[in-house]
Symmetry: C2
Subunit: 268 residues, 2 copies
């Protein structure tokens, strides 16, 4: 446009190239500006509540610290409160904190992967640190920090998946629950019940599967560096369980048949 | 640079402004190109496996259909297999399917919120549909579809949170587990044990809290349209539990004192 205008002598060539330069700069800047708005400003707006929340600053001394007060941490906190036990709760999600506070919970604002905040939360005098955050990286960051600076703390941790579980085991953390495991076992029990299992039998089978699965996790951990071997161990473990259960079902069937033969007509 | 070069007569002003224009265009294009790569190409590469997977096409007739074979659905599927029970598994995440297949699972590729695929999976003859997908909207879409076209199906569902739980209740779905609830209760039991509770006592307290919490959910559901009332009900329920538990602890303490008074020196 400017070149055409310069050609038509609307303004001299120097002005045209100056204008082109200006346009070039604005063309260069506008996407950068958009990126900057995206990266820098929007998160600030989104976290505006956060900047208004005050970080934990008064020294706490409860025996339990809970990092992360989402769906997982809340249940733990509430169960402790019901027992009359004190816990200091830290979360760095402003929305979560406001929701929790509206329900009457005392939750401190702060990032538990920061040494100073963890110290203010009472890490030096507490007995237990519950790591209930949902993000794996943040979970490991908190744990590494705690193990370095507060090695006396007992860690009770929420794990996301096998990889996270293995990373926790690498760090010697043993009080770990896989976050979806227990509820999925409950659903499995329900399926068995709908299919006709008696509730106690469904429960027994679930407990049994649970034990087997936990043992399998330990075995798979030994081969965590070798994916092919890990898969082989998993397949083998599953097969063993299936065969064992099939045998037991056949045995139970046989016994039922015998009992019926022994007491003919008893319940006919 | 070009202007300075033009000033130094390295090339004429027209060439300089032409070059500036070219640079301007490339400056404009390169961020757009990056955005395009990000938005258009990368997802395609990531989903390349998906386009290669064949959708479920052969009619299935297992008594159980599992929609979603992530962490939740896998445990249910494996427990059923261990019982010798057949289940048809559907997932529409190509990576998940490939991972599951590498571990030896038979998983069909398909979106369970599509009527034709649900029918091919055997919805007309199955007894149970397990909805184990992690996305709330997809979960509700599958459930609405199933209730409309296969009303005989018993639904066993994974719920994400209170809102989702309420939406399921709105649809009359009662066999629901909150996905993190049971594992968080396990972690809470562990905390109690580390604090000195006997394992059976920690378990008893967790079971009690569980019962109370499930009842509270039912009560809160009645007030789901009125947030203030819902919060009041939640607070009140919690307070009741705390008072009750405190009373019981005082009672237990009193009884211990009496026993000690009755049998002085017995265990001293």
């Amino acid at each position: 446009v400017f070149q055409a205008a310069a050609g038509a002598k609307v303004f001299p060539a120097e002005t045209a190239s100056l204008l082109i330069g200006a346009v070039a700069i604005s063309m260069l800047l506008s996407p950068l500006l958009l990126v900057a708005i995206d990266r820098l400003l929007l998160p600030r707006w989104a976290n505006r509540g956060a900047t208004q929340l005050e970080e934990i600053s008064e020294q706490q001394d409860a025996p339990v610290i809970i990092a992360g007060f989402g769906r997982y941490g809340q249940i733990i906190g509430r169960m402790l409160t019901a027992q009359g036990l004190a816990a200091t709760v830290l979360d760095h999600d402003a929305d979560m904190i406001e929701a929790a506070r509206s329900f009457g919970y005392k939750v401190f604002y702060g990032d538990a992967s920061r040494l100073d905040l963890l110290r203010t939360a009472g890490a030096q005098t507490a007995k237990i640190l519950v790591v209930a955050v949902d993000d794996k990286e943040q979970s490991l960051a908190i744990i590494d920090l705690a193990r370095e600076h507060f090695p006396h703390l007992e860690l009770v941790v929420r794990a996301r998946d096998v990889t996270h579980w293995n990373q926790l085991r690498d760090r010697g953390v043993l009080r770990v629950e896989r976050e979806l495991f227990e509820s999925s076992l409950r659903s499995a029990r329900t399926v068995l019940e709908v299919l006709g299992y008696a509730p106690h039998e469904a429960r027994r089978q679930a407990m049994r599967f649970r034990r087997h699965n936990v043992q399998l996790f330990e075995k798979m951990y030994e081969h965590r560096q070798d994916r092919a071997r890990m898969i082989a161990v998993a397949k083998q473990g599953r097969q063993q369980l299936e065969e064992q259960m099939a045998q037991e079902r056949a045995e139970a069937q046989r016994r039922r048949g015998e009992n019926e033969a022994r007491a003919p007509g008893w319940d006919r």
